[in-house]
Amino acid sequence: MPQYGMVIDLKRCYGCYACSMACKTTNHTPPGVFWARVLMSEVGTYPNVVRQSLPVLCMHCEEPSCLEVCPTGATQKRDDGIVIVDKDKCMGCKYCIMACPYGARYSVDKWESYFPDGLPLSPLEEFQKKAWEEKSGVGVATKCDFCLDRVSEGKLPVCVEACPAKARIFGPIDDPNSEVSILIKKERGQVLNPEFGNKPKVYYLFPR
């Protein structure tokens, strides 16, 4: 069974948020929930300032702390390394949210409209809410699942497909001949905060 992972080339990412938008429209996540986030950072002093974007998602760690702390067994790690949440077992204690040092998990108590002043849900929001309840639902912990439905059909995760800069590469990380493995080796891919000890399977390529 392949172990899936992802490489994100920060030299290519220019912070357009296409991955965030594609994820939201495909997975119908509620307002305030971002399975694919983009963080921004500014480093340096004028005139030598660099603005760097950092796409972040569930790291599908080899040693996920969310899996360890889940009291009900709702968080599971599949044979292909993808970490998932079984909504029928999750009791919504939110302990996994506190345990994930990458802030990849969310839980919402209710679906609120994107529009202000208590306006009723629009037809599109009603559709999204229904789709979300089938997939996950309110009250339970949610997170990126590497677009499991798409991957099982042989497609790429939607954030990978949507990235206009081709900054995201997805594939079997345990296959030394796969594109992701070659890139990690050739360009010395790094993981975020290795000191957390979770052994993430999302690697970043950084300008040197």
Binding site: L10, G32, F34, R37, V38, L39, M40, S41, E42, V43, Y46, P47, Q52, L54, V56, S65, E68, V69, C70, P71, T72, G73, A74, D88, K89, C90, M91, G92, C93, K94, Y95, I97, M98, A99, C100, P101, Y102, G103, Y106, S107, D109, G137, V138, G139, V140, A141, Q190, L192, N193, F196, Y204, F206
Partner: protein
């Protein structure tokens, strides 16, 4: 705008969890003191009775607060499925056993004459010893639950369980003292109250030392420093916890201990005020620790990704011309 930018505060555990942690601590502390006093005997019967009447309802109500916070409470029956790795699963078992033992002890102590027979006394003593073990487990669990949370550096300290155990003992103490002033006669409770006031004052001093050690340890870690700074900027923490929740009860307990004979009527009121303030301080401590828990900063190759601090005077500071 993503509300969950790194460096920002967690918002998933709020006051319901704070009340749960507080009541769990009060229950554990009150039961431990009540059970220990049941062994010490003479003159401490009222404190045992009051402690047992506090422990069971407190842990029961506290658990209801936890259930109220669950997103999907219908799955709560699964909460003890993974005691091998999850502290919530372990806590489910610890609290469940403690709840049963505290209930049994209360019923046997208050509603039966089992304790009058020699064999019955032994049964109650065995329950009390087991109850003390699980009461201490409950007090420690409320802190370990937080210290095992890898995503919040402020909580991820071995000192947190110590803080919570000491605070739980203090609040349990105050809860019993408050109960004694409400349900005992002044004449019968005066001496036990003066002894307990001295114990409470000592415990409060210990809590001050432990909380100061916890905060200075948090300041020394870059990822938890922001939380430590935030908590010290909160009026709720400084005034509500440090001044009204620790300093005021400490002074009042010393007054009670040093009170002269003949001032019985005023002592009950002073004890009650000190106890209420001490209890409120325990709740404020837990709420403040929860709401000041900040996510760690993500970093890669020297870049830190957190909230972007923008200059307050944009035009003057980031103009196109270099500064003179």
């Amino acid at each position: 705008m993503d509300p969950k930018v790194n460096g920002q505060l967690q918002h998933d555990w709020g006051w319901l969890i704070a009340v749960y942690l507080f009541l769990g601590g009060v229950a554990g502390g009150a039961y431990t003191i009540a059970a220990v006093n049941s062994f010490l005997g003479a003159g401490l019967e009222l404190s045992t009775t009051v402690g047992l009447w506090i422990a069971f309802p407190a842990i029961l109500i506290g658990t209801l607060f936890l259930i109220a916070d669950l997103g999907s409470p219908s799955h709560a029956v699964l909460s003890g499925m993974k005691p091998g790795s999850s502290w919530i699963a372990r806590g489910t078992w610890i609290i469940s056993i403690f709840m049963i033992l505290s209930f049994l002890h209360l019923v046997l102590h208050q509603f039966t004459s089992v304790g009058d027979a020699a064999g019955g006394k032994t049964t109650i003593d065995v329950i009390a010893v087991a109850g003390i073990v699980f009461a201490i487990g409950t007090m420690a669990y409320t802190g370990i639950l937080l210290s095992a949370s890898k995503g919040i550096p402020f909580w991820r300290s071995g000192v947190v369980p110590v803080v919570f155990v000491v605070s739980a003992t203090v609040t349990g103490h105050f809860a019993i003292m408050l109960g004694m002033t409400l349900f005992g006669t002044v004449a019968s409770t005066l001496e036990p109250l003066r002894t307990m006031a001295l114990e409470a004052a000592g415990l409060v001093v210990l809590e001050v030392l432990v909380i100061m050690f916890f905060l200075q340890a948090a300041f020394r870690q870059p990822d938890s420093r922001e939380s430590a700074m935030r908590i010290l900027r909160k009026y709720m923490f400084i005034i509500g916890y440090f001044i009204l929740g620790l300093a005021a009860p400490l002074i009042l307990m010393i007054i009670v201990y040093r009170s002269a004979a003949g001032a019985e009527t005023g002592i009950a009121a002073v004890v009650a005020i000190g106890a209420v303030l001490g209890l409120a301080g325990g709740l404020i401590l837990r709420q403040a620790v929860l709401i000041c828990g900040a996510l760690p900063t993500l970093n890669i190759a020297g870049f830190e990704f957190r909230r972007i601090h923008r200059p307050k005077e944009p035009k003057a500071d980031i103009g196109l011309l270099p500064p003179k």
